[in-house]
Symmetry: C2
Subunit: 392 residues, 2 copies
């Protein structure tokens, strides 16, 4: 047996020992609460669209759960991030610092503002923005002019920074907030993957001026498709509601819109599902944490592989359980992916780095050595909450 085959077989065995027999998806939702009741109530009311009580309820419940003063529910996380960036003041030709190691929506949302993604490196302990390295980079390549951060290489304004809490693991937010303050950057959090994750007791997505959540089908809780904008600023919340509902002015019958708006508000039927799902979030998080501990037991016995655990002061939602191969095992990544998927255990690597995608290859970037190394070594393994309860 070659080194790769041996590693693949040990990893397959470790996963199998936790999840039991049969094919296992990467992440499946659990519908075991009031989903059916709320959907029925929604249909019976005939208000299935973007007006309706479940949208209000879902926004209220989300605000309460996350501790954000306001939540505005959207059709998906990409839409939430797009509007959050707009409301953060990102305009045409601005640069926005985002991790290269992220889902493509982060970069796409920047381009929807006709702005430029500027790629930032990630670090090993959280998979998030390497704040120390970013600070060195900005000290070398940015200066503050009239209270704005200017890229001395391109001459563009660096308007904002978007920490993305990868697979649910909170970024070093103390460091990031300090850095943003030093360099006059607006913080917009991409918390699409981190509903339920906290940093020093505070929910991710509530540190920046705005944050974005996602409730896609593969997320910890789902509304089919859905997202939300979080903010503590009442005026930004009002603007978010306005922009996501075609910027229509309130009137008994007149259809007047006062700026270019979007059809981005969450439909009531999706919010009905969301209300039921959110009620179950504490139990789902507990099950996902249990799954982490069970994987920890199994992977302790596998050399050359590390199971990613939450950092000090952080509570991860463990959305996607993540193993990281040691550097000298990175050459075996695809062998491991093939073997596990062939065994019916759905696994996947981290995303192809944003700067490696043709459409973003000409965008500005700092050195991405950390992200590049991680992208060759990270593997997500089956993570559904129900696997944590032993009810496989």
């Amino acid at each position: 047996m070659s080194g790769g085959e041996l590693l693949a077989s040990q990893i397959t065995e470790a996963i199998r020992s936790v999840v039991g027999a049969g094919p296992k998806a990467l992440h499946e939702p659990t519908f075991s609460g009031n989903e059916w009741e709320y959907l029925k109530e929604c249909l019976d009311s005939t208000f299935v669209s973007s007006v309706g009580k479940f949208v209000d309820q879902f926004e209220h419940d989300l605000a309460q759960y996350t501790g954000a003063k306001y939540a505005v529910a959207t059709v998906n996380g990409t839409a939430a991030l797009h509007i959050a960036l707009k409301l953060a003041g990102v305009i045409q030709d601005d640069e926005v610092l985002i991790p290269a190691l992220t889902f493509v929506a982060t970069a796409n949302a920047v381009t929807y503002c006709n702005a430029i993604p500027h790629f930032v490196d990630s670090e090993e302990s959280t998979l998030g923005i390497d704040v120390v390295k970013l600070r060195r980079y900005l000290l070398d390549h940015a200066k503050i002019v009239d209270g704005q951060c200017v890229n001395t290489l391109t001459g563009g304004i660096i308007r904002a920074v978007v920490p993305m809490h990868a697979f649910g693991h909170p970024v070093d937010m103390d460091g990031l907030i300090d850095l943003a303050s030093e360099f006059k950057l607006v913080v917009v959090e991409d918390a699409a993957e981190s509903l339920g994750s906290t940093y020093k007791g505070k929910h991710t997505g509530t540190f920046g001026r705005l944050g974005a959540l996602s409730f896609n089908g593969n997320k910890t809780i789902t509304t089919g498709g859905g997202g939300a904008i979080l903010t503590n600023d009442s005026e930004l919340a009002r603007r978010a509601r306005h922009l996501t509902t075609t910027a229509k002015l309130s009137h008994a019958w007149e259809y007047r819109h006062d700026e270019v708006g979007y059809n981005y508000r969450m439909p009531n039927i999706n919010a009905a599902l969301g209300c039921a799902q959110l009620e179950q979030l504490p139990q789902l998080l507990e099950a996902k944490r249990d799954l982490f501990f069970r994987y920890q037991g199994a992977f302790n016995k596998v050399d050359g592989v590390q199971l990613l655990s939450e950092s000090n002061g952080c509570s991860s939602n463990y959305w996607l359980q993540t193993i990281i191969l040691n550097a000298d095992n990175s050459r075996y990544r695809d062998v491991v992916l093939e073997a596990t998927n062939e065994a019916g255990l759905m696994t996947r690597p981290a995303w192809v780095l944003m700067n490696e995608l043709t459409q973003f290859s000409a965008m500005p970037s700092m050195d991405l050595g950390g992200a590049l190394s991680l992208s060759k070594r990270v593997i997500n393994i089956p993570s559904s909450a129900y696997l944590g309860t032993g009810n496989q």
Copy 2:
């Protein structure tokens, strides 16, 4: 009683004689088919998001119903129109001819392409683009250069024309297609309001290179939020699927995207609702047609008001029943709107013209005398399908 009060009272009485007692919404959906069953099946499968059998089924059923070769389901009609315009080749600084008398989504979708809405007049019989007047305008203000239509005033390329089938009434498509051919314009149909409407036996949305449908909560059938792109071109359909699903390349595990894409595909749970709704469309259309005939009987007795009926060769879905005040009654429009709404009968005028919105006031425009006159005289009245069956 003043002239306005008399007219308002006659109109209120005419509507009331048809719809019966109690408050009546402008348009409410009917859920009396397999909605429950399909939603339950969707939840039980756990595939509620943008992968799932109901999305495929809904697209198949839509294509079959409309006669389009391909249908691609989207999160809403705005998203469908945005992608349709992109696939029609609309790029930055292009001009796109759209009616000034339309819902704001038509203009917004053009701006999402960084293109320029160029406003066109509407005519009385269909409320759609005045093809004869538009031809005279283009003969005066456009020329063909290298096979492209150039606006001689702005120097911009006029890339496309977007007929919008207002309230379900088909535009004069023979005239429009000829005009588009003469001036080298791509036709993209905004059929958001016209599911079930045909022109000379052919479904609206299938005449242009691409068409856009909507299934918003106020439409003839609804998916909560939803839309679809129609096309007969397999390559455009493939591109539409690709662009609406983040432009991700198919791969067992790799996340690679080959262009800036969108999170625009319809979630499976919304498509489940759509499949059930589409099964009931023929009966809903019949009921809405019955409602038209009942309103016709009632409004025959009201002087100075005309109920809008389908043109020769057209079959309207009668999405929103529409009365048009005679010119000398236009000053009473707001009195009528106030009286009917106060009586619990929800009515509304046509949209504020696009050129009258601040964000579009500087856009190019032809003379809009027809649209202006109509915008002062059009009133939509309660139109739910269930009102047509006598089951008030």
